[in-house]
């Protein structure tokens, strides 16, 4: 993955997102050691302090836990925490933007729901 350095999202958030994805798609499993700030810095060509900030966000959310002197490891409930967070924050945020856009475009409530339902069905079919 390449970071989008010009994106509105801060780099450390992008790092945290990327790590979450790695956990979700099981590249890193529970109780496995996650990348260090230096590895991340090298991978993404960023300052290690920025990378550390991304790691610390996940640690604060208890996706990761620290082992003194050994680094950070994936918590047992990591997947659930991430999914929950994404549902709450990301999804509701996106829905909000979607709704605002719909209001501006004069799209009715039913029409919007239908659009969402269709898209949901289509993606599910594609993934199969």
């Amino acid at each position: 993955m390449l970071l989008n350095l010009n994106s509105l999202t801060p780099i450390y958030i992008q790092i945290a997102d990327w790590l979450e994805n790695e956990i979700l798609n099981a590249s890193i499993n529970v109780d496995e050691k996650i990348y260090s700030q230096y590895q991340l810095a090298e991978m993404f060509n960023i300052n290690p302090a920025t990378a550390a900030k991304g790691l610390n966000i996940l640690a604060d959310e208890q996706v990761l836990y620290k082992k003194r002197g050994l680094g950070m490891f994936v918590s047992s409930g990591a997947r659930e925490i991430i999914l929950e967070k994404r549902k709450n924050q990301k999804l509701s945020g996106m829905v909000k933007e979607l709704a605002m856009e719909a209001v501006q475009l004069n799209v009715g409530e039913d029409e919007l729901v239908t659009l969402i339902k269709d898209m949901h069905r289509k993606i599910k079919e594609d993934m199969k």
Binding site: L8, P10, I11, A41, I46, P48, A49, T50
Partner: protein
């Protein structure tokens, strides 16, 4: 521990002041970007930190010592700058060898591999190098010295884009391999911002901002929309920059002190909120007037 600390530093040249009342500290093992326009006093400040020049007043401490004419500071600091000279009579490999004799942590293998990577002929004389190649060589010396305090003043001047990219990558990798305190001065922030931890922004010899890069990205917010709406919104706020945009439109940059709800309401009023990149913010903060170049023509 603070590697560098400055308290009320002032430097006077003749009648003008190159630095005024500058105070800041730099922590150990960090990469700080010293950003400012040409003539802001970057080189003067770095010269004082490196012990080449003496401040007119104020206190400077490097490794808890006064850096001017200080052998210990000199031995633990390397200052790579544009006016750096090496004797023409010596070949590059002789120069590397000499550098190795001076610097305690010198990594000769790194120096030789970088020399090879950047296709510099070790038997060549420093004199015969082009401006960009000189910068490249100086940079190699600066990296391989692995000094606890490493200072690069506009290190990439004359380098082509590819070499610049390689340099910043090399700097980061070697920093990770051997953490130290690095100060990197540049007037082009966007080129270096990813590898920086902190930014020290100076304007006309004074400190403007000193914070982490991430904080800086959230420091300000850009608002654009119809002139009247923007004007009313930004009234009584700290305006950093303001310019006209399109017909009857205004783009303004203000301190980001808004809550989520506040921003929400603004959006509903048809105003567009955009983040301000660190690079643009530095440009706005260091410009002479709030309106930029347009001010001249208004």
């Amino acid at each position: 521990m603070n590697v560098v600390s400055c308290q009320g530093v002032m430097k006077r040249y003749g009648r003008g002041n190159a630095l005024r009342n500058l105070s800041f500290t730099l922590a150990e093992n960090s990469i700080t970007g010293l950003i400012g326009r040409n003539g802001a006093g970057k080189t003067t400040l770095l010269s004082i930190i490196a012990g080449l020049q003496k401040q007119t007043s104020g206190e400077v401490r490097v490794f808890s010592e006064n850096p001017f004419n200080n052998l210990k500071v000199s031995a633990n600091t390397i200052f790579i700058h544009g006016n750096m000279t090496f004797p023409a009579a010596m070949t590059l490999s002789e120069l590397l060898q000499t550098a190795g004799s001076f610097y305690h942590n010198w990594n000769n293998q790194l120096a030789e591999r970088l020399l090879e990577y950047f296709s510099l002929d070790p038997s060549q004389n420093h004199n015969n190098l082009s401006k960009g190649m000189k910068s490249t060589f100086n940079m190699i010396v600066g990296l391989a010295a692995r000094c606890p305090l490493t200072i690069f003043d506009e290190p990439t001047s004359g380098m082509d884009a590819g070499v610049r990219k390689d340099f910043y990558r090399a700097l980061l990798k070697d920093y990770i391999a051997s953490p130290r305190t690095i100060i990197l001065s540049s007037h082009l922030l966007n080129e270096v911002e990813d590898i920086l931890e902190d930014i020290l922004l100076i304007k006309e010899g004074e400190k403007c901002l000193h914070m982490t890069v991430e904080d800086m990205k959230e420091y300000a917010i850009g608002i654009s929309g119809p002139a009247a709406a923007v004007e009313s919104w930004i009234a009584e706020r700290e305006i950093i920059h303001q310019q006209t945009a399109g017909v009857n439109g205004t783009y303004a940059v203000v301190r980001n002190v808004f809550s989520e709800e506040g921003l929400e309401r603004a959006r509903l009023q048809g105003l567009e909120m955009t983040p301000v990149s660190a690079d643009s913010l530095c440009m706005y903060l260091t410009s002479k007037t709030k309106g930029g170049i347009d001010h001249v023509f208004s």
